[in-house]
């Protein structure tokens, strides 16, 4: 199985991307700007140096006096002419009283038969300062722009996607059982609008299918009772007619048994559907321990294994009295049905808890399927396969916890009323 990637919110994701791109752009453009400005400034300085040098040269032509202004201008007479040198150098600046970095241009010129070396210098610090100032202001401006863009983008994204988020929330709360359709937000964005239409079509279909299924189950159950009643009535008239032999009689009674089973099955199916339809609104405060005790008493004479009750304080729950009875009845009859041997079936209660256990040989092979409709652990058992499904359904309806475990050769069901 591939590991699913970490989940991140859409707006967060786009903001994050935007942030990274902004940082990269800012850094990149600053570097480019830095080098571009630097060459520009250097060219500027060089031009300045050359123009100063040219001016000095021309002034040397006019007057023979040697003009000096160290460290900015130095003129020396030299024996030989050499090619010009342009370089950076660090020399002592008496005006600042420290070593400073200068840009230095040394040229050689022959003026009135004399060889001169003219050296002009310019402070680098100045241009560096300009460079730094420009870069910093650039950074500040772009940063401000990006921050503004970031929030602007985030807000507009949120606005843009809001129909999507809203509809998503609606879908999260969607229940197939709900009577009314979803109230989805429309959007001017075509894709979102299409999405909305599709979702509505889909959920409406799911709802109507579910409704049909519910009615179908109920209708089928109802429709089945009448033919069953006819069969049963006819059989009863038949077994009261003359000239029946024992074998025919046992066949007829076996049919009666099957009719009973079929009728139980449809009754329970209807009950399940009714719980699904929320048709049990008659909530009353009742003592579930008492209901359980009454149920156990009612069953005591048709149980093969003795039923032992050991209950403590009452547990008051708010639920439909009929469903409370169904819950207890199904748990007890389940215990009786699957009890092996002559050991007792135990019903105990504690604070907010009722347990019912029956002896068994081994733990269930598939306990997770225990509450599924028509799941039978033992093949051929004469059960409708709906008893525990009903129990689970009722527990879910009233948020009662139910647990099964196998311990010391006993199947134990525990109801927890704490939740």
């Amino acid at each position: 199985m591939t590991k699913s990637p970490k989940k991140i919110r859409l707006v967060q994701k786009t903001s994050k991307t935007f942030l990274w791109i902004s940082v990269a752009l800012m850094l990149g453009s600053s570097i480019v700007l830095y080098f571009y400005l630097k060459t520009l400034l250097q060219g500027e300085v060089e031009e300045e140096l050359r123009s100063t040098e040219a001016r000095i040269e021309s002034s040397l032509h006019d007057q023979s006096g040697v003009y000096q202004l160290p460290p900015v201008v130095e003129i020396e007479k030299v024996p030989l002419l050499q090619s010009e040198i342009l370089k950076d150098t660090v020399i002592y600046d008496p005006s600042q009283d420290e070593m400073e970095e200068f840009r230095e241009l040394s040229t050689y010129a022959q003026i009135d038969g004399e060889n001169y070396r003219i050296t002009v210098r310019s402070l680098v610090v100045e241009s560096e300062n300009i460079l730094v100032a420009v870069i910093i202001s650039y950074l500040i401006i772009t940063l401000l722009v990006f921050i503004f863009l970031y929030y602007f983008n985030r807000n507009s994204n949120q606005k843009l996607w809001s129909p999507f988020f809203n509809n998503l929330e609606q879908m999260k709360t969607f229940s197939v059982m709900s009577e009314s359709p979803l109230h989805l937000m429309d959007s001017e964005i075509l894709e979102f609008s299409e999405l909305k239409t599709e979702i509505l079509a889909l959920t409406d279909k799911v709802r109507s299918d579910y409704k049909n299924l519910k009615h179908y189950t109920e209708d089928v159950s109802h429709e089945m009772q009448t033919p069953l009643a006819i069969i049963q009535a006819k059989i009863e008239n038949l077994i009261n007619s003359e000239n029946l032999d024992e074998q025919q009689f046992s066949q007829f009674t076996s049919i009666q048994k099957d009719i009973h089973r079929l009728s139980q099955l449809t009754k329970r199916l209807t009950l399940l559907t009714k719980i699904d339809n929320n048709q049990f609104g008659n909530i009353a405060s009742l003592d579930i321990v008492q209901v359980m005790e009454d149920t156990v008493l009612g069953f005591s004479e048709i149980s093969n294994s003795p039923l032992v009750i050991d209950t403590a304080a009452p547990i008051t729950v708010k639920m439909d009295p009929f469903l409370a009875q169904v819950l207890c009845t199904n748990l007890v009859s389940n215990a009786i049905k699957y009890s092996s041997g002559k050991n007792a079936i135990l019903v105990t209660s504690g604070p907010m808890e009722i347990s019912i256990s029956n002896p068994g040989h081994q733990a269930l092979r598939r306990p997770e399927q225990l509450y599924d409709r028509f799941y039978r652990e033992v093949e051929g058992a004469k059960a409708t396969g709906l008893g525990l499904a009903l129990v689970k359904k009722i527990c879910d309806l009233y948020k009662i916890g139910i647990e099964y475990h196998f311990e010391k050769e006993r199947h134990i069901f525990t109801l927890n009323f704490q939740r």
Partner: protein
Amino acid sequence: MKILIAEDELELQDSIATYLERDGNVCERASNYDEALYKIDLYEYDLMVLDINLITGSGLDILKQLKKQRSETPTIIISANNSLDDKLEGLDLGADDYLTKPFHLAELNSRIKAVLRRGKFGGTEMIEFNEISIDTNSRTAYIEGTEMSLTRKEYDLLLFFITNKGRVLSKEIIAEHLWGDHSDLADNFDFIYVHINNLRKKLTNAGAKYIRTAYGSGYKFIED
């Protein structure tokens, strides 16, 4: 007794009538809403068996009409609907009993007799059968004036047998009468056999032998 059977399923209507007529009852039949209305309007019945879902209308409306006419005809509703609300509505409207389909005819018969006992004929709560008499009010049975000590289930069994005397009752019918929906549990373990045996012993000790085995696994309450 003159009984009206208002049931749109002809086969069921017929079976019910056949079963009830064997006891010497006269059964009138109504196969739809209008026919039923017409008949209760014209004639007086000792009892009505009424299906709630008549094809052309609701049986509950017939019941309302019956009560409007101030008729005292007791009514037993038979319905395919098992819901408690329907049951309560029917009983609230004045029905005397409510049976869910499918039901055993023996069960219907015993309910009919119970309703009739409580009904207009002076409310005779005593049932007499040769030397056996049953006081349905105090739920006690006597043989030649001596009270029998019966358990609740044994009493129910005896009453069921006597109200369906001469009929073959299978274990399934008896189990459903005694334990209703949970009769399948009882059936697995032969509890009926135990109860019937005990009742039989108590009757035989007092000199009455009416419970006969029929076809090996069924029972019949029969006069010697």
